[in-house]
């Protein structure tokens, strides 16, 4: 059963406990000066698999209010990163997470170009760098535990569960409370993601990409890629045919020549 997480942006007060949990669980280093994890300058980075970004927005009455948006890999249902990976180092698992296997990675970084959300980062500072992104705590999920970030939230701003139930909950929440914008970010984006968000603010104001298409990216490439086997068979057939014809022609030619030579002893 595929798992999903629903983030309610209105319940976050920006303590950043989730970012600390992520660092603790995944053994990632801190760099508050260059790569802060909470606040206006918070950005996902090789060492920051999740951040909480602060946004000044206007509430219903036009007054400035603060909102905090937790960011991490959204774990697409049909991940472009995995489809672009030549060596299968990124794989969509049955449980939901899109997992990265560093032992397989050859460092081509196609995944970073492929991802519509710009999530995968590269360890540029290391001699033997790896791609770096949230794993949705696949190890914890295997034990039926919620991801570390979800389990530490003091306000239960994140809810972990079966993806169908989570989507139902999200729909119920935005239907029951008119403060929410009528949009579940991640329900349809890039074909749907395991992380979904509800909010009282339009998502583009919270630093979410509004330009991501609903169609899964792998579908675009699949249109071409799925023709490759057929093309291969046809092409090799053609080439074989050409080879045979050429060979036959050569054989005929050489036998004619030898006949001619044989006639002049």
């Amino acid at each position: 059963m595929s798992k999903a997480i629903l983030v309610d942006v209105t319940k976050c007060y920006g303590c950043g406990a989730c970012t600390v949990a992520c660092k603790l669980w995944n053994g990632k280093k801190y760099d508050d000066a260059k790569k802060p994890t909470v606040g206006e300058n918070a950005q996902l980075a090789d060492i920051n698999w999740t951040v909480v970004s602060k946004h000044r927005v206007a509430d219903a009455s036009g007054k400035t209010v603060w909102r905090f948006a937790k960011k991490q890999c959204l774990h697409c249902k049909e991940p472009a990163c995995a489809s672009s990976c030549l060596v299968g180092a990124l794989r969509k698992t049955e449980g939901g997470p899109v997992v990265y296997y560093p032992d397989l990675c050859v460092g081509c970084r196609y995944c970073m170009i492929a991802c519509p959300f710009g999530i995968p980062k590269y360890e540029w500072d290391k001699s033997f760098p790896e791609v770096s992104k949230c794993q949705m705590c696949s190890g914890r999920l295997a034990k039926n535990e919620a991801p570390a970030c979800v389990s530490v939230c003091p306000n239960s701003a994140m809810k972990f569960g079966d993806s169908e139930q989570i989507l139902k909950d999200a729909r119920a929440a935005i239907a029951s409370d008119k403060r929410y914008v009528k949009h579940i970010y991640g329900e349809k984006e890039a074909g749907g993601t395991a992380w979904m968000y509800i909010s009282d603010q339009p998502f583009d104001k919270l630093g979410f990409k509004a330009t991501v298409k609903n169609r899964p990216l792998p579908e675009y490439t699949w249109k071409i890629i799925n023709k490759i086997p057929a093309a291969l068979v046809v092409w090799s057939g053609i080439l074989t045919g050409v080879y045979m014809i050429t060979k036959r022609r050569d054989a005929v030619k050489s036998s004619k020549n030898s006949e001619g030579k044989g006639g002049k002893p």
Binding site: C15, V20, L86, C137, R140, P154
Partner: protein, 536 residues
């Protein structure tokens, strides 16, 4: 050649290269087709505290942490040291009733009263006071600057703990000696302005009580509108003041207009003291040593610039740096001063005298007891009876304390005390209810202290056992009462000679126009920065 016999096993170059290339191609092919073992997925090499390792969404009793704005003037957090133990939330929510007492989503502020109780509960000191030690040392090193310092009552029974002395050790003289050794040009006692606070706040209380007795709406002297609401709230604890501004702004008319003793001394240092000594206030730096992290916030409140306004430079603040007791200890260690071996020294004159009534400001109930002693004098013209020198009902660590006493000519004076903001809510909700139902006020005067035990348990005090223990609080309480009863010569604020002198030479009389300019303040309704929960 050897190879010719074909049995020696030596590999020819050709065979070797063929083998290597073959193996490489096979490996590459295997990797490309995904046949290779995947190895371990990234991440998951660390840990989380045990309470978080439970299946699914089971409730976790203690989880997460409090939000701290990076701009917070009082406290900072180092994420590297945070272990998500959840203790800060316990302190903020269960002791201080702040976290969890406002609705989500938040508005344009991270609600924090700056009390610093979380710094005492945090087991790794990830949360700590904003460190101003370097800036104070820089001021001390600048020979053009005249640096004065004041020490709060509660610091003198706590800083010794940082040097291996038992809790409650009385080290007033050594603390003064250390400050003088570090090069402060004037070492003053916040006790002096605590006594002054009693004169100002007592006079204000007497005016409010008399107004109520006469049933009228009093106009204060010198034309300013005097507040008349009863009960009067004490205003010494900046965490409490901010709490009231956030959660009970409708009750701010009850707040005494008096500044805290820290701010009074700051304002007087750059006016009264500067004038007396002939020092340019612009070349003065005013430092305070406080048991409190909220004092850093208080010192930075924009309206705390009375001396600056008086001196024609509104940017000049009354108190430039407020250091916690912990920062003082760190500073003494930085200066490599052998604290326990120091010979006792005295506070400097002009603003160095304090009474027993002032020193017990550091204890819960202490401001009340001191105010009653001098309030009795202000109302009757006579010094209080012996009983009032040891007012047991207002002492001790019970969360809410109540007392009533008979004052000749006034009748029954009813007082209450709450320490720890969770306890404050009990009295505040009751008052709100009473006002809604137009009931007579139950009390005339209520003392509120943000921290459990009062300032001796302040968020800037030395860290102790976890959670902060009542045994340590009691030891510190006892020591301040000992100082009041046995060590200080005087026990009545109005008998403080330097206080009498400042009124004679400078301020005129309590609640005078000048006193209002320098020693009184206004409050800010912060109710619009949060949505307080109706019933938490």
């Amino acid at each position: 050649m050897e190879k010719s016999n074909g049995k020696t096993g030596v590999v020819s170059r050709r065979t070797f290269l063929k083998g290597v290339t073959g193996a490489g191609l096979t490996g590459a092919a295997a990797a490309l087709t995904g046949c290779k073992s995947t190895g371990k997925p990234a991440g998951g090499t660390g840990w989380t505290p045990q309470q978080y390792n439970v299946p699914e969404n089971w409730p976790v009793q203690v989880r997460g942490r409090v939000p701290i704005d990076p701009e917070n003037p009082s406290i900072v957090r180092d994420d590297k040291k945070c272990i998500l133990c959840g203790q800060c939330i316990e302190a903020c929510s269960k002791v201080q009733s702040v976290q969890g007492y406002y609705e989500l989503p938040i508005k344009d502020d991270i609600t924090c009263v700056n009390c610093g109780q979380c710094t005492l509960w945090c087991p790794t000191a990830a949360i700590s006071e904003r460190d101003d030690v370097d800036r104070v040392i820089a001021a001390l090193n600048d020979k053009n600057l005249h640096v004065v310092v004041q020490t709060a009552p509660a610091t003198r029974v706590a800083v010794g703990e940082e040097f291996g002395l038992p809790p409650g050790s009385i080290i007033e003289g050594k603390m003064v000696a250390a400050l003088k050794k570090m090069g402060f040009d004037g070492v003053f006692d916040t006790n002096f302005t605590a006594d002054l606070t009693i004169m100002e706040e007592g006079t204000e209380l007497v005016a409010r009580v008399k107004n109520a007795l006469s049933g009228g709406h009093g106009r204060g002297e010198e034309g300013h509108h005097a507040p008349t609401a009863l009960p009067q709230f004490t205003s010494c604890s900046p965490g409490w003041v901010k709490f009231c501004e956030y959660f009970y702004p409708d009750l701010l008319e009850h707040m005494s207009t008096c500044k805290s003793p820290q701010q009074m001394l700051g304002a007087l240092a750059k006016t009264y003291y500067a004038k007396k000594k002939g020092i340019d206030p612009a070349k003065m730096v005013s430092v305070s040593i406080m048991p409190c992290t909220a004092k850093k916030f208080e010192a930075a409140r924009p309206e705390m610039n009375s001396a600056g306004v008086k001196n024609g430079n509104p940017k000049m603040m009354d108190v430039d740096y407020a250091l916690t007791t912990r920062e003082l200890a760190r500073m003494i260690k930085l200066f490599r001063i052998d604290f326990t071996a120091l010979k006792d020294r005295q506070y400097d004159n002009i603003m160095g005298e304090g009474t027993g009534a002032a020193v017990i400001f550091g204890n819960t109930g202490g401001v009340m007891e001191a105010a009653i002693r001098s309030g009795y004098f202000l109302l009757t013209g006579q010094n209080p009876p012996e009983l009032l020198y040891n007012l047991e009902p207002v002492r001790g660590l019970q969360g809410v304390k109540k007392a009533a006493l008979n004052v000749p000519g006034v009748g029954e004076l009813r007082v209450a005390i709450a320490h720890g903001l969770g306890n404050a809510r009990v009295l505040l909700d009751q008052l709100r209810e009473d006002k809604k139902n137009h009931r007579e006020p139950r009390f005339h005067f209520i003392e509120f202290m943000s921290c459990p035990g009062g300032c001796i348990g302040g968020g800037g005090q030395p860290r102790t056992a976890l959670p902060p223990s009542n045994a340590v609080r009691q030891a510190r309480l006892d020591s301040l009462y000992t100082m009041d009863a046995k060590m200080y010569k005087k026990r009545l604020s109005h008998e403080n000679k330097e206080v009498q002198q400042i009124y004679a030479e400078f301020l005129g009389k309590p609640n005078s126009k000048l006193a209002h300019e320098l020693l009184h303040t206004t409050y800010t309704d912060r109710g619009s920065h949060l949505t307080a929960k109706k019933k938490a």
